[in-house]
C-alpha cells in the first residue's frame, strides 16, 4: 500500500492509498457537513441535500444520473451523519474515471424545484420508516435528550414539520455555504493511478471558489436525565444510554473504543455475561462514538418491558464495578484481538478501507496506515482504560426508553 496526498489551490484535498493487488477501486467525496451544521429552520437539510445531489445537474436528469452510474456497474451510494455527508462508489478499476467524473459533476447539482418537491415525499417516507424502527427512534430521542441545545443533538432526518416547510432556496443557500472545495476531501483506495485521478479532479473542481464553512465546537456532558415514551405500536422495551467520552481528536480514543468493546460487544462482554447470557435482555451493546470536539459511550439494550428495571440496575452495577475494580488484563487483550482482526478483515476490501481513510483526514488532517492503526491499538495500556473510566463515569448516563404504552416511567 502506498499513500498519496495532493491539495488544489482552492483547498480541495485528495488523498489515496493504492494497492496493485486489489481487484477494485473505491472513491469517496467527503463533505464536512451534517445535521450539527444546521439551524432549526433547516433541520434535515444535509440529508435531504444528499438525496437531491442524485437528482441531476445542468447536463443530466435524475434518471440519466442513475443510468450513468449503473452503466459502470458501480456499487454507489451516500450517507449523512451529524457531522459528514459522504458520497462513495466501489467500482472495477477500468470504470473509476467515469464514476469520478459523475461525482465531480454531482457536487454541483441543479436542485430543480420539481425534483425538490418529489424528493420531499421520499424523505417524509424515510422519516415514517424510522418511526417504525424503535432501535433507531430511541437513539435519536436519547441523543436529543443528552445533547439538549448542543448541535450534536440535531436529528439527521429532520422532522415532518421542518421538511415540509423547507424551500429549495434554503437548500441552495446551504449548498453554497457548505460544499466549497476547502470543506471537501476526496479519498480513494485500491487499484488506481493517483496522478491521473488528481489531474481529473483538478480539471473538474479546480475553479470552485473556497467558502467560509466553519463549525463551532463546544463540549457536552449530558444531564443524567431519564425519560420514557410509551407507544401503542411497540411491544418490547428499547433502552438507550449515553454518557460522555473523548472526542475524535483525543489520543485516548483507542482506549475508549476498547472500553466500549469490553463493556458491550455482542459476545463475551460485561453486558453480554450480565444480561444476554442470562436471557434478561436479548441485545445489550455499547459502542464508543467519537465526534468533532465531543464523544459519547452509546449503549442500546433491548428486552421485555418487565425486565427494564432490572436491566438498568445491572447496567449501573456493571458501571460501578468497573469504576471500583477496573478492567482485567485478559479483557483488554481479548478486546484488542477482536478489534485487530476486524481491522484486518475490513481493510482487505478497498470499500472497507475507504471510510476510515477519509474520516481520519477529515478530522485529523493526518494519514494513519493500517500498520500504525494496529500499533496504536496494541499500545493501549490497562491504566489508560482505567483512567478513562475514572475521568468519564459511565454511571452518569442520560437514558431514553421506548416501550409499550401500559408500563410505568423509568425508576
Amino acid at each position: 500500500m502506498r499513500f498519496h496526498q495532493r491539495q488544489l489551490a482552492n483547498g480541495l484535498t485528495i488523498i489515496g492509498e493504492t494497492s496493485d493487488s486489489a481487484q477494485s477501486a473505491a472513491i469517496g467525496f467527503f463533505v464536512k457537513t451534517g445535521s450539527r451544521d444546521e439551524t432549526p429552520a433547516t433541520s434535515g437539510v444535509s440529508h435531504y441535500l444528499e438525496h437531491m445531489t442524485f437528482k441531476g445537474t445542468e447536463r443530466l436528469s435524475a434518471l440519466q444520473v442513475n443510468e450513468a452510474f449503473d452503466h459502470t456497474g458501480a456499487k454507489f451510494n451516500a450517507f449523512t451523519s451529524h457531522e459528514n455527508t459522504v458520497y462513495y462508489a466501489a467500482v472495477l478499476p477500468e470504470y473509476l474515471a467515469e464514476v469520478t467524473d459523475l461525482w465531480i459533476d454531482l457536487m454541483r447539482p441543479s436542485l430543480r424545484d420539481n425534483d425538490f418537491a418529489m424528493e420531499k415525499q421520499v424523505i417524509l417516507e424515510e422519516i415514517a420508516m424510522y418511526k417504525d424502527t424503535p432501535q433507531f427512534d430511541v437513539m435519536d430521542r436519547c441523543r436529543s435528550l443528552y445533547f439538549g441545545n448542543h448541535p450534536c443533538g440535531n436529528s439527521v432526518l429532520g422532522s415532518d414539520e421542518s421538511i415540509t416547510a423547507m424551500t429549495a432556496d434554503q437548500m441552495r443557500q446551504y449548498h453554497r455555504d457548505r460544499y466549497g472545495p476547502n470543506n471537501l476531501t476526496v479519498a480513494c483506495c485500491g487499484r488506481l493511478d493517483f496522478d491521473s485521478l488528481c489531474r481529473q479532479i483538478e480539471t473538474g473542481c479546480g475553479k470552485w471558489k473556497p467558502v467560509e464553512a466553519g463549525r463551532t465546537l463546544s463540549p457536552a456532558v449530558g444531564n443524567g436525565r431519564r425519560q420514557r415514551l410509551g407507544k401503542s405500536s411497540i411491544q418490547r422495551e428499547h433502552i438507550c444510554l449515553l454518557s460522555p467520552s473523548v472526542s475524535v481528536q483525543d489520543p485516548r480514543r483507542y482506549a475508549a473504543s476498547l472500553l466500549g468493546m469490553i463493556v458491550g460487544d455482542d459476545t463475551g462482554s460485561r453486558f453480554f455475561w450480565s444480561m444476554v447470557d442470562t436471557a434478561i435482555a436479548e441485545t445489550a451493546l455499547m459502542e464508543f462514538e467519537s465526534m468533532d470536539g465531543v464523544g459519547v459511550m452509546d449503549s442500546y439494550i433491548h428486552c421485555g418491558p418487565d425486565n427494564a428495571k432490572v436491566v438498568l440496575e445491572l447496567a449501573e452495577k456493571t458501571f460501578a464495578d468497573l469504576r471500583q475494580n477496573g478492567v482485567t488484563p485478559q479483557e483488554l487483550q481479548t478486546a484488542k484481538n477482536k478489534v485487530l482482526s476486524a481491522v484486518t478483515i475490513k481493510c482487505e476490501i478497498p470499500m472497507g478501507r475507504l471510510v476510515d481513510l477519509g474520516m481520519n483526514w477529515v478530522y485529523l488532517k493526518e494519514y494513519l496506515s493500517i500498520q500504525e492503526e494496529v500499533r496504536n491499538i496494541r499500545a493501549v495500556t490497562l491504566d489508560q482504560v482505567n483512567d478513562l473510566i475514572r475521568d468519564f463515569p459511565l454511571e452518569q448516563f442520560t437514558c431514553f426508553s421506548l416501550g409499550p404504552e401500559t408500563y410505568p416511567p423509568l425508576p
Binding site: H71, G73, K120, A128, A281, G304, T334, K338
Partner: protein, 411 residues
C-alpha cells in the same frame, strides 16, 4: 479472478471445499450442517435457533465462559444463520489462528455439553428474538411472506413459532440434536490464506470419526394463502410479496438473474425508477432472488404511508407484469456489468467466497468457477431474456401487508 475451487472428501464422506486467495491476511470458513428449519419435527419449529445458542454454552473441556473466552481470544467473528436445509456456522479471523479455531469448532459441533441449566436461557433468548420481530415490521413482513410462499416445511420461519418454542424441553432438543445433527453429512468450505493440505489433515483427525447416516429428502406440504394482512399501529404499511421463478439448477438461471437486476438491481432499475423516483411513493423498495435446490422466488419489499399503500402495490405489480413485454439493450448492459462487478468485488472478501462456494456445492453439487459465471452473463441477449420472460411471466403473487391499513389485491 481466482482459480477453480479444490474439493477434498474425508474418509467418512464429509466434503471440504477450498478457494485460496492471494494478498489477504485473513481466512473465512463455514460449516453447513444439514439440520435446518425444514428438517425439524413438525412441532419443533424454532428448535434450531435455540440449539444455535445452546451449542455455544460449553463444549468439550470448556464451560460456557471458557468457550466464549477462547473464541473471542482468537478475535474470531462469528456469523451463524438458519436456512431450510442447514444450520450455518461461519467464522472469519486472522490466518494465524485458524488451527485453534477449527479445534474449537470440532468441540462445539461434535461435543457440545448441552447442559440442562443452560437450556432455559437459550430458549428464553429465542422467544425474545421472536417477540422482538413484532417491533420490526420490515423483517416480519418478509418472514411471513416467505412462510406463505413456500410449501411446508420449506418456508418455516427460522426464528420459530411461539407454541413450539414454549413447549420445547432440553431433552427434546437433545434428542433432535442426536438424531439429526451430523456435521459430516454437511459441508465445510474455506477461503483466504491457509494451507489446504494441513486443513484437510486436521479435519480428518477432528471430524473423520463421526459416522454419517444417509441423507433423507424433505416431504412437502402445501403453500399458504395468497393474501394476508396483519394489523399494526405503526407509521407505514409494510408490503411483502413473492412470485415464483426458476431455481439455480434451471438452464435459464442467468436469465432470471438479469430479470431481477433489471427490476431492482440498482438505482436505474424499474422498481426504483417507477415507485420512488417518478412517484415519490416509498423510501425503501426492492426485489431479490431467492433459490432453494428446486424452488425459487423473487421477493419484494416496500414500505409506505397508508394513503400511498394501494398505489405502491399497484405500481409494483404492474412492473412485475410488464417484464414479459421485454427489455432494452441498455437495461441488459447495465444488468450484465452490475452482476459482473458484484462477482469480482465478492471475490475480494474471504467471507463472501467461503459462503459462495458452500452454497454452490449445496445447490448444484459443484462449485462454479467465476469465469464460467462471467461467460454465462456475457452470453445473455435481449432476445434470450425476452423469451425467458414470456415463457416465465411473473404474474402469480403471494402478498402480506403489515400496518394500520389493509389494501385491495387486484384479481
Amino acid at each position: 479472478m481466482p482459480k477453480t475451487a479444490q474439493i477434498h472428501t474425508l474418509a467418512n464422506g464429509m466434503v471440504l471445499l477450498s478457494e485460496p486467495m492471494d494478498h489477504v491476511q485473513s481466512v473465512a470458513f463455514v460449516f453447513l450442517v444439514p439440520c435446518g428449519s425444514a428438517r425439524l419435527p413438525d412441532d419443533a419449529c424454532g428448535a434450531d435457533n435455540v440449539l444455535l445458542d445452546w451449542l455455544f454454552r460449553g463444549a468439550g473441556e470448556r464451560n460456557s465462559r471458557q468457550l466464549i473466552d477462547a473464541l473471542d481470544g482468537l478475535g474470531l467473528h462469528r456469523s451463524c444463520s438458519i436456512t431450510p436445509h442447514h444450520l450455518v456456522f461461519g467464522s472469519s479471523l486472522e490466518a494465524g489462528n485458524l488451527a485453534a479455531a477449527l479445534e474449537l469448532h470440532a468441540d462445539i459441533l461434535l461435543r457440545p455439553r448441552l447442559e440442562d441449566e443452560q437450556f432455559e436461557p437459550s430458549r428464553q433468548l429465542a422467544l425474545q428474538e421472536l417477540e422482538g420481530l413484532e417491533d420490526e415490521p420490515r423483517q416480519k413482513v418478509m418472514t411471513l411472506v416467505q412462510e406463505q410462499f413456500y410449501p411446508e416445511p420449506l418456508g418455516r420461519p427460522s426464528l420459530g413459532r411461539k407454541p413450539d418454542l414454549q413447549n420445547l424441553t432440553a431433552q427434546r432438543l437433545r434428542d433432535i440434536f442426536r438424531g439429526g445433527f451430523h456435521p459430516s453429512c454437511g459441508l465445510f468450505a474455506i477461503a483466504g490464506r491457509y494451507d489446504f493440505d494441513a486443513v484437510c489433515r486436521q479435519l480428518e483427525i477432528l471430524f473423520g470419526n463421526e459416522s454419517s447416516p444417509a441423507r433423507t429428502s424433505i416431504p412437502r406440504g402445501s403453500s399458504g394463502q395468497p393474501y394476508r394482512h396483519v394489523h399494526h399501529d405503526g407509521a407505514q404499511v409494510h408490503i411483502g410479496l413473492m412470485t415464483p421463478t426458476i431455481p439455480i439448477t434451471h438452464p435459464d438461471y442467468y436469465h432470471a438473474m438479469a430479470a431481477v437486476s433489471i427490476l431492482s438491481g440498482s438505482m436505474s432499475s424499474r422498481l426504483f425508477t417507477e415507485v420512488r423516483e417518478k412517484r415519490g411513493l416509498c423510501y425503501a423498495v426492492g426485489a431479490r432472488y431467492h433459490t432453494l435446490q428446486d424452488l425459487a422466488g423473487i421477493s419484494c419489499y416496500a414500505g409506505t404511508t397508508p394513503d400511498k399503500a394501494q398505489e405502491t402495490l399497484d405500481v409494483i405489480l404492474a412492473e412485475f407484469r410488464r417484464l414479459r413485454e421485454g427489455i432494452s439493450s441498455d437495461e441488459l448492459q447495465r444488468a450484465q456489468v452490475g452482476l459482473k462487478s458484484s462477482l469480482i468485488m465478492q471475490s475480494e472478501s474471504t467471507a463472501s467466497r467461503s459462503g459462495g462456494i458452500a452454497s454452490d456445492f449445496h445447490l448444484l453439487g459443484r462449485v462454479r468457477p467465476l469465469e464460467e459465471i462471467k461467460q454465462q452473463l456475457e452470453r445473455l441477449t435481449v432476445d434470450s431474456v425476452g423469451r425467458f420472460l414470456r415463457e416465465q411471466p411473473m404474474d402469480k403473487f403471494t402478498i402480506v401487508t403489515i400496518g394500520p391499513k389493509e389494501i385491495r389485491i387486484p384479481a
